[in-house]
Every structure is written in structure tokens, then in C-alpha cells.
Amino acid sequence: MSWSWILAAVVFWLATWATNQVLAQKRFKDKTMQGSVDVLIPILFGAALLVLWEGVCKGFSVPTVLLPPPSMIWARITASTDILWADFRQTYLKAVIAGFVMGCGSGFIAAIIVDRIPFLRKGLLPVGNLVAALPIVGMAPIMVMWFGFDWESKAAVVVIMTFFPMLVNTVAGLAASGHIERDLMHTYGSSYWQTLFKLRLPAAMPFIFNALKINSTLALIGAIVAEFFGTPIVGMGFRISTEVGRMNVDMVWAEIFVAALAGSLSYGLLALLERAVTFWHPSYRKR
């Protein structure tokens, strides 16, 4: 046990906390200044967490099997980029993206059909709401059995997982445009499709992006968990489950880091896209 590590970590923690305390209370006149401070505060907090993690690991000499310090994980990441890239390609570029596109696409089309037929809406929506709450990950072993060990089965799990949130949200979104707007379209003598493309789909976009954002996380989870049930010898889920068995915890953390990075980046990308598409929405308008 070395107290210097712990002391250093705690001091750093307190220093960032104090800085944040000061920064959070201040009001900046300049808009860009305020914006960058708002970004800086969580980054400082995250850095403090990392340093505290490192300090506690080194200070109390926590066995690396239990919790490796961040520096060791980073060393592992830089040392084995080729394995990480191969896993990333297998799990993310093949399974997740294919499944995400198919699941969201079919959910979207199903939602438009459901919206067109009121009987289906009454019948399918309660069922869809229920299914969206079910532990669908459990379908993974069945999909592996049907579609084999390669990425197709993982994509199938992702399709099922992403379908229902998309369906439910899009149907809710299509109902979001107001009566007045719809009546206006009616007075223009616009057809069903014109109303759909010019009014109702744009109005549904916030809901659709909500589903896309939920699905981006779900898709990664689905693909990784499906790999626990059988996979070729490559893939993030495969690597995690085998390296846990071999007690190579730093490799597991490296894999988690990649997953977290991929998850956050795709979420961020969708958020940016949302901003571009729904620029008219009150929450994005300049105040």
C-alpha cells in the first residue's frame, strides 16, 4: 500500500471538484465561453474519476484481476489494436449495422402500414408495447440455432430488438401532428402521401430519432450478448467471454472501451443528425 498514490488522487479529486464548484456558479456573458465551460466541467469530472481509479488501484495495490488501472488498460488497447479491430469489424461493422438498418427500416415501414389501418393500430400497438418491454435478448440462443454461428444470427437478434421500439415510436410520432395542420393540408387538397411526406413524417422525426438513439445502444447490446451463445472465434462478445475465463481482465476492459467508444460515437452521430433534420424543433432553436 502506498499512500502517495492515494493522496495524489484525492488531492486531484478535490482540486477538480473545487474548480467545478467555481465554474458551475459563474455566469459567462459570452455564449461560446459558457458553452465551452459547460463541456469542460464534465470532462474535468471524468478526469478526476480516472485519476481516482488509477490512484486507488495503485495505492491499495488492488489485484489487476479484480480491477486493472486505466493506464494498464490503455497499454493493452494500444498493444492489441489488430485484435480489437477484427472484433470490431465482426461485431459492429457486420452484425450491428446490418441488423440496425434492417430492424429500424422494417419497423418504420410496419409503422406506416399500422398507421394506415386503424384496426391494426388498435390491435398491434398494445402487443408491440408489451413486446418492447420483454427481455428480447433471450431470443439470442434461438437465433444462433436458426442462422448459424456467424454474424447473420447476431444481425437477426438486433433486428428483433430494434423493430419494436421503432414501431411504437414511429406510430406515436405519426400521431403527433396537430389537427389544425392536418386540416390545413386537407384544405390544400393534398393526397395521403403528400400529407405524409410534407407534414406527418417531419413532425414524427423527433420520435423517430428517439427510437434510433434507443436502438443504437440496444443493437450493440444484442450483438454482444448473442455472441455469448456461439460465435466464430472473433467478435467482441466472444472475446469478452473467453478473456474473462482466462482472467485477462485488461483485455476485457479494452474491449469494453471499444464498445463504449462505438456506442457513444454512434449516439453522438445520431444526435448530430437529429439536430440537422429537426432544426425547427423548439429544443434546438436559438434562444
Binding site: Q21, G123, L134, P141
Partner: protein, 294 residues
């Protein structure tokens, strides 16, 4: 709701959809299992009539897709006809999963509420913690599940707690976000009224913010309980398939017992639906007692 509108808006549409699902299920059973039967008949060198083929596809031991009645029979056998302490009883496994779900859910709800209270009352926490709470959910946390289980097992913590921790991690997020929204939902006018009463922070919290947030709490609890069940099931996967619905799924997939997988899935689905309904019922009762007009 009158009986007629109940029939028109609920029973008939939902019933039709459910019937359609069952019909499709049977069709797929026949289509997916038929190649195996044809293969068997060909090897035995006998002609098989279409009717025989269809009835055979619904009675296989290890079908690709079991027929609904096969799953129903399996569920009946493993719930009613087995002693509930038996390791082959579905009720036993459901109970194992339910207990870790509930523990994780309780922990997650507590953590979520505490975080929300902190975030609402401290500007620093709001600015520094909130972005990380959101980032924490873009991490596919279930990926860590096997590691949490194995590592905690290595230092001697096993059984309920590791699974509950995974459930907690998954379920605190909707609670925290919902409660932040709920605790901030009182209008400025109400807050000003409390201010004119010279109410302390604690009084504002207990008499205004907390009651105002209760509907939000129950809405997010419904989401949270469903995902803590998912967490518990995934948490059971790497424990070496000892007990729980996740273990049933895993052992079923190892030994090709599709009927067992499907019955575990149905059990999980029923459990999820019941949990959500119970929370919904409690929520409705509480909000009605608090004077909210439904």
C-alpha cells in the same frame, strides 16, 4: 369504458392480432420443421403423406421451432406437475431470477432517486454528473455482465448480489432521469408560494417537489423494472448455468432443447408483463390516493 367499446377497441383487434401471431407460429412450425421430417422419411424409404408430415412437424423432440402447444405442455409439466423446490421446476428458476431482479430494482431505484435529488439541489452535480449518466447508458453495459459476475465470484461474492448489481446499473438510469424531470416539474408559481411561506429547502422538497415527482417516479419505474429483468437474465448466463431463467436459456441452447428455451422465454415474458402491471397498479393507486384525477 362500456362493454361495447371494450369489444370494439380492445378485445377484437388485440384478439385478432394474437390469433394471427399463433396462426403464423403454426405455419412457421410446419415450414421450418418439414425438411427434417422429409429427410427422415427419405432415409427410412417411406412415402409420407402431407397430413402426416404436418402432424409430425408438431411432435418433434428437438424441433427447430416448437409448436405453441408443445411449449404449453412443457410449461404445464415444469410448473404444475413438478415440485417447486425441484431444480427442474420453472417456478423455481423464475423465483431465482425474480429475487435478483427485485433486489437490483430496489437498489437501482434508491440510487436513481438519490442521484436525482443531488442533481436537482446541486448545480455542480448537475453540470458534472448528468452528461456522464447519459454516457454511461451508451456503453453496452450488458457486455460487462460476465466480468462483474466472474470478478465478484473471485473475491467470494456470489449468488444474488452480482446479478443484482447488473440490474441496478441498468435500472438506475431511467429512474434518475425521470426523477430529475419530476423534481423539477413544480411550476415557478408554486415554488414562489413556498418561498413566501418562508419554507426551508427540506420543506420545499418534502411538501412540493417530492409529491410532484411521484407520477414521474412510477412511469420510470415501469421502464426500470423491465430492464432490470433483462439484466438479471443476462447476469445468469456466465454463472455456469446453475439456476435462473438465463441459465435455462443457456443450458437449453447447449443441449439443443428448443422447447426448454421457448418455455423459459415465455416465463420471462410473463414475468416482465406481470412486474410492469404490478408497478402500474401500485402507481395508479398511489396517485389516486394523492388526489390525482385519472
Amino acid at each position: 369504458m362500456t362493454l361495447q367499446s371494450f369489444l370494439r377497441d380492445k378485445l377484437i383487434p388485440i384478439g385478432t392480432v394474437l390469433l394471427a401471431i399463433f396462426a403464423l407460429w403454426y405455419v412457421f412450425t410446419v415450414v421450418l420443421n418439414a425438411p427434417f421430417e422429409r429427410d427422415q422419411a427419405e432415409r427410412a424409404g417411406v412415402e409420407i403423406s402431407t397430413l402426416e408430415l404436418i402432424s409430425n412437424t408438431m411432435a418433434q423432440k428437438r424441433p427447430i421451432l416448437p409448436a405453441p402447444h408443445q411449449v404449453a405442455v412443457e410449461i404445464w409439466q415444469t410448473t404444475v406437475e413438478k415440485n417447486i423446490t425441484s431444480k427442474r421446476s420453472l417456478i423455481y428458476h423464475t423465483w431465482v431470477t425474480l429475487s435478483s431482479t427485485m433486489l437490483g430494482f430496489a437498489l437501482g431505484t434508491t440510487l436513481g432517486i438519490l442521484l436525482a435529488v443531488g442533481i436537482v439541489h446541486s448545480k455542480v452535480l448537475d453540470k458534472s454528473l448528468m452528461p456522464w449518466i447519459i454516457t454511461s447508458q451508451t456503453i453496452p453495459i450488458l457486455a460487462i455482465a460476465p466480468m462483474v459476475i466472474v470478478v465478484l465470484n473471485a473475491i467470494g461474492i456470489s449468488g444474488l448480489l452480482p446479478k443484482a448489481i447488473i440490474s441496478m446499473y441498468l435500472s438506475f438510469f431511467p429512474i434518475a432521469v425521470g426523477m430529475v424531470k419530476g423534481l423539477r416539474s413544480p411550476e415557478v408559481m408554486h415554488l414562489d408560494l413556498m418561498h413566501t411561506y418562508n419554507a426551508s429547502r427540506a420543506q420545499v422538497f418534502w411538501k412540493l417537489r417530492w409529491p410532484a415527482s411521484v407520477p414521474f417516479l412510477f412511469t420510470s419505474m415501469k421502464v426500470a423494472v423491465a430492464i432490470s429483468l433483462v439484466g438479471a437474465i443476462v447476469g445468469e448466463l456466465p454463472t455456469g448455468a446453475s439456476a435462473g431463467l438465463g441459465a435455462r436459456l443457456l443450458s437449453g441452447s447447449y443441449y439443443g432443447q428448443t422447447i426448454q428455451i421457448w418455455s423459459a422465454l415465455i416465463a420471462a415474458a410473463v414475468l416482465a408483463a406481470v412486474l410492469v402491471m404490478v408497478i402500474d397498479l401500485i402507481g395508479r393507486t398511489v396517485t389516486r390516493r394523492m388526489g390525482v384525477v385519472a
